[in-house]
């Protein structure tokens, strides 16, 4: 997935990706990424948590606008089965 993202970015598409393993991301070096504290197979948190899924998408849209350095990774605060921070 990292290669696909990097090739897309090289071809002129701005991209943003999700990740859940800081060590793996340090190796892959995605151009722009959000880091979550969730396990594999659920980058957007618990099934049915519509509000959280939406928040993460809004975070991604914001990150597109604010990330100006190649390779920026922003960690999100959300935690499994805990309420989102205000």
């Amino acid at each position: 997935m990292g290669l696909i993202q990097r090739m897309a970015e090289e071809s002129g598409f701005p991209t943003i990706s999700m990740g859940n393993a800081a060590d793996r991301m340090a190796h892959i070096k995605p151009p722009r990424a959000l880091l979550v504290k969730f396990a594999r197979g659920s980058m957007f948190g618990e099934p049915g948590n519509v509000k959280r899924q939406r928040r993460i998408l809004l975070d991604a849209l914001e990150a597109l606008k604010t990330m100006t350095q190649p390779g920026t990774i922003q960690e999100l605060p959300y935690q499994w089965k805990r309420p989102d921070p205000e």
Partner: protein, 200 residues
Amino acid sequence: MALSLTHKIESHTVRVRKWPLKGYPMGIDLESFKPAYEKWVEESLPDYRAGNFEEIIKKYPLIVSDGVPWTPYKGRPSEQTFALVTSGGLYLKDSQPPFDIGSIHGDTSFREIPKTVRQEELGIAHAHYDHGLAEQDINTIFPIHRFIELEEEGIVGKVAETHYSFSYVNDVVTLVTETVPRFLSRIKAAGVDVLFLVPV
């Protein structure tokens, strides 16, 4: 931007290259990678067949990159077209073949998933993660329904008519030389402005 690549198999460094170089997609020296990959396949098959995936991952001929390709983001989400890309192995059960989950090479193909897809139409063919959560709510790995809501609210200009799923892939050569160029030409033709990628 200079990007050096180091191909490693176990602790042995195969070669270092700089990019951009003609004939080296993404700076990947495929001529060096190929024999390292073929050796890895040969040595890893017994472990792969036995299900010892952690072992074979450790020995994979890694591609290490120094630089980061970059396209500046311009404009506003409310005026742009977004497409989703997942590596979750999604396919349409009624009309598309599942991904190959048996081969050590993985499956280098991708499936096109329509914007209008419903949860019950999707199958998952990927042997290396737990599908339980995605089977309850596909938006946990492929947040298409949330994106459509943002489009309806005008926060996102347009959700593309087609989205994309890949699956488990080890064969980087085919991926880089054939699959990704085909994928990129599809999204260009579809007028996609921004890609949102969700690995599993």
